[in-house]
Amino acid sequence: MRLARRVAIGVWLAASALALGACMREERGLRVTPPPSGRVQTVRLTELQPGPPQAPDVTKNEYEENAYAVSEGKRLYEQMNCVGCHFHGGGGIGPPLMDARWIYGSDPSQIFATIVQGRPNGMPSFRNKLNDDQVWKIAAYVRSMSGQVSSDVAPARSDDMSGPPPEASTERKPPVKTGGIPKSAEMPK
């Protein structure tokens, strides 16, 4: 009996020590090498293609697993005046970013390409105006707006007095494959 109790206490202590060891603070990567941007030139922006169907591209943006990087993306989203057209995700002059429709694709590399190259009818090109590191952070934040980033990483509060509910409490909206062009992104007639 006594032995069993001792063993139980021992097991409990060992488990606690292991659990404590599992506590790890997420690191702020301040001097990391950003994900490579080379593939941006070859990224496909549409699923339509001749010949047999091909699996869609899936890129991993490491910043989507780093809360600090995503919140930096949020700050840049404000400071680089993305809000000027897309507002806080609801859209207006530019298409909304918090819905499920992706005109030029929802993959991180497709978003990266959209920011760097610009898109017709109003989206400016940020080539050479933002460095790759910053663009990857903004891309991660843009995906968090429709819940594509896990909620423990997405920003949980806004710096503004008011605004939409935080990205962390946004439910994931599965990207719609063929988005089409919303009214707001059409060429002015």
């Binding site: 301040l30 001097r31 700050r75 400071q79 050479n128 105006k129 460095n131």
Partner: protein
């Protein structure tokens, strides 16, 4: 009284010495860091910096604060010594049991004379405490009132905006073309009252120049005001005094108090737009500046760069430090800051810049020409 003055002088002297030793070692580090390059001309030198200390007042407000501080220091110091003397006395004269006596049986013999004496002592103590606290109360109230008496109609208005982690400085003027914007270095004319309007864009910061005044918080979305007057020329270091994030410790600034005519001269030079490039390299540097991420955050008046996210660089070469008082403004430091500022001040908002060596040298030539 003479003893008091002696204590006061030795405390000040020790602090000044400690500071000069610290400054000496840091300037050695600077010399080692900036290997070859030094900016030769300077309006004033960093070595003119007065020790950053509230014990070395240079303005009327800091003078009032330090008088209150010394009063409290002397009185509470004396009280502390007296209390300690009683405590030590009690320990030394502690009653040991005499032979044949046991401590278990308390001595309850009434001693009316002794009790009367003791209640006198306690009552005197209470009365003294009340008097001392009252003196402190009146004095601190008068000091608080005197701190506001600097205001005057003939004043200069400077708007300070706190950012993580630097200070935006804007000299207000009813005519827009006479507004000067700079960063981390505040020039004021000696003897003239200055109204500071303080606000912040991100989190709460606190504006503190110990030699001139106490602290005033900068609050996002709200404007606080404080008055300053520097009575003697000098360079006073200020520091953010409210924890504001990763680089709070590296959020410093300098207040340069100079004679009114010299101030006017500085002000006029700051009003001018940026100088045109004088040679091929500087022209290339400007091109690099305007076609790279620099232009997304910084302003250089007279060019297309007009963003206000980062510090205004129109006259960056006229400033003595970069990165909010973190580094001396030398070519080597500028290069390190442009290429890899995250090594120097981790977490700051300046991104790393991967420039070609030729472009970097040209950019440095251009930045150093912006006097």
């Amino acid at each position: 009284m003479r003893a008091m003055r002696l204590i006061k002088n030795s405390v000040s002297l020790a602090l000044t010495k400690a500071r000069s030793v610290a400054r000496g070692s840091s300037s050695t580090v600077y010399c080692l860091l900036s290997t070859v390059y030094f900016s030769p001309s300077a309006v004033y030198l960093l070595t003119d910096l007065r020790s950053q200390s509230a014990l070395d007042p240079a303005g009327p407000q800091a003078g009032r604060i330090i008088s209150l501080w010394w009063l409290m220091f002397y009185v509470t110091g004396t009280v502390f010594l007296i209390v300690m003397a009683f405590l030590v006395g009690a320990l030394v004269r502690s009653r040991r049991p005499r032979r044949g006596e046991t401590l278990d049986v308390p001595d309850v013999k009434p001693e009316p004379a002794r009790e009367r004496r003791m209640s006198h002592v306690v009552l005197t103590g209470i009365a003294l405490t009340v008097v001392i606290l009252f003196v402190f109360l009146v004095n601190s109230f008068l000091t608080g009132r005197a701190l506001d008496s600097v205001s005057a109609k003939d004043h200069l208005t400077i708007k300070i905006t706190g950012h993580q982690w630097w200070w935006e400085v804007e000299y207000e003027n009813s005519t827009a073309q006479y507004v000067v914007t700079t960063a981390n270095e505040i020039h004021v004319p000696t003897g003239q009252p200055v109204l500071f309007k303080l606000t912040a864009t991100d989190v709460i910061h606190s504006f503190w120049v110990p030699n001139l005044h106490g602290k005033t918080d900068l609050i996002p979305g709200h404007e606080t005001v404080t008055w300053l007057r520097a009575d003697s020329d000098g360079v006073y270091r200020g520091q953010c005094a409210e924890f504001c994030g990763f680089q709070h410790a590296h959020m410093a600034f300098t207040v340069v108090a100079e004679p009114p005519d010299k101030f006017k001269q500085w002000y006029d030079s700051q009003l001018a737009p940026a100088v045109e490039p004088a040679n091929q390299s500087q022209a290339q540097g400007r091109q690099v500046f305007l076609s790279s991420p620099c232009v997304m955050c910084h302003t250089v008046r007279g060019t297309d760069a007009g963003s206000r996210v980062g510090p205004d660089l129109t006259h960056v070469a006229s400033r003595q430090t970069i990165a909010a008082g973190t580094l001396e403004n030398t070519r080597g430091h500028l290069a390190g800051w442009v290429v890899d500022s995250q090594k120097i001040k981790p977490g700051n908002r300046m991104p790393p810049n991967n420039l070609e060596p030729g472009d970097l040298q040209a950019l440095l030539d251009y930045l150093q020409s912006l006097k």
